[in-house]
Amino acid sequence: MRNRSAAWVAAAALVSIAPFAAYAQGQPGALPEGEAKPLVEGLCVSCHRTNLITASLGYTRDGWKELIGTMIDRPPTPTCRTS
């Protein structure tokens, strides 16, 4: 099981290394281009499909922040909450 406490760190590392072959490739629900697209692919799509994002209810910035907070610890100081 992926340790989601370190997910932000892992995502940052992935993004900085190279444009990686995303898990999302070929999946329904393509992500639009944007500066943070690799971040979404590295952080979100490493655990679930893109269609959970593209087919979602959609949220404000605060709403996305709250939703992400139910999945992983957030920076600036990630702490381990996984068992």
């Binding site: 944007g34 500066e35 959970l52 139910t70």
Partner: protein, 340 residues
């Protein structure tokens, strides 16, 4: 980094109404109570009440099972054997918490007194995905295996497991319940059918449902013996009466794409959810008046769905969950004020 990420998501995926439900107002009042489970990203699901009043759940993605004391709010999570990826939890007559190992072909239980886990591997390599499990009054565990197209029977006294494969490929046995005579019924998530199982012989009797395109996630059995089911594929609620052979369906309020999913019957009232909608509505149906009422299920300050299984407590509250946001929830239905 967080600002960049949430900024991208909010800009490209702002609030929308693409899958907005049709919520139906009505006279019934309910209240929600929620508990946020400790391990993040676990996808909590299938809360169920134990004999001692505790509530158990599984975190399918977190490979764990949890116990909640609803009075104190204290929660404890138990890691399960590798790759179990539990699909559900059910409590046996002794108070053990049983789980289905959906990814490692097992069924097992945790003894809350000792914390020890006992695991039974499936005796057939084709039996890969134990799914939903229920106990009959004799303490026998009955379970479905959706993609293996099987049903199973496990005797906890000796660990003996019997499996039966359905004759029609792709039937996808899904929800399962026990009727008053002790015979299991299960629903098909692959085609239009329900099945009755002879508890003594495991012989299967198919009930064909009327509409092509029907797929049924879950079912429940009312006190009068009627089988209530969700027609997930067509966005309808259905009822089959084994005594008369009658089958009847009603369009769910949010329409053909509403994908009804979980269902439970409490005091003659049918409760289910429309998982294809955002927000995910909790729907109440009164068979006497054939009327609906529905509510959007909150998930903290957002709506993120969905319910995949729901059951009632002994005092008639509903136990639901929102797997996307690690919440298990209790719904209390308030009695209507007496007419003046």
């Amino acid at each position: 980094m967080q600002d960049k990420l949430t900024g991208y998501l909010a800009a490209n995926f702002p609030p929308n109404t693409r899958r907005a439900p049709k919520l139906v107002s009505g006279p019934i009042q309910i209240t929600w109570k929620e508990w946020v489970n400790p391990q993040l990203g676990q996808r909590s699901r299938d809360p169920v009440e134990a004999q001692d009043g505790s509530i158990w759940w599984v975190g399918q993605f977190g490979n764990l099972m949890g116990r909640l004391d609803p009075k104190s709010g204290e929660m404890k999570e138990y890691q399960l054997p590798p790759n179990a990826m539990p699909h559900t939890v059910e409590i046996d007559p002794k108070g053990n918490a049983w789980f289905t190992g959906n990814k490692n072909g097992s069924v097992g239980y945790l003894d809350p007194k000792t914390g020890k886990t006992i695991v039974y591997k499936m005796p057939d390599p084709n039996a890969k995905d134990p799914h939903t499990l229920v106990f009959d009054k004799q303490g026998i565990a009955w379970f479905t295996l959706q993609n293996s197209n099987m049903i199973g029977r496990l005797n906890p006294e000796n660990g003996d497991i019997k499996l039966v494969t359905l004759n029609t490929p792709g039937s996808k046995p899904y929800g399962i319940k026990i009727d008053a005579e002790g015979n299991p019924w299960f629903s098909c998530n692959g085609r239009p059918c329900l099945y009755k199982v002879d508890a003594a012989t495991m012989a299967l009797t198919e009930i064909k449902l009327p509409l092509q395109g029907t797929t049924v996630r879950r079912l429940d059995i009312a006190e009068d013996g009627k089988i209530w089911y969700v027609n997930s594929g067509m966005g309808r609620l259905g009822m089959h009466d084994p005594k008369t052979g009658e089958t009847k369906e009603w369009p769910s309020p949010s329409g053909p794409r509403s994908h009804p999913y979980a269902i439970v019957v409490v005091d003659g009232i049918v409760w289910y959810n429309e998982s294809g909608m955002r927000p995910d509505p909790l729907v109440r149906f009164d068979p006497k008046t054939e009327t609906f009422q529905s509510w959007a299920i909150p998930s903290g300050n957002i709506y993120a769905g969905i319910i995949r299984h729901m059951r009632a407590t002994r005092d008639g509250t509903l136990l639901i969950h929102q797997s996307s946001t690690n919440r298990i929830m209790q719904v209390t239905v308030h009695k209507r004020a007496a007419a003046r």
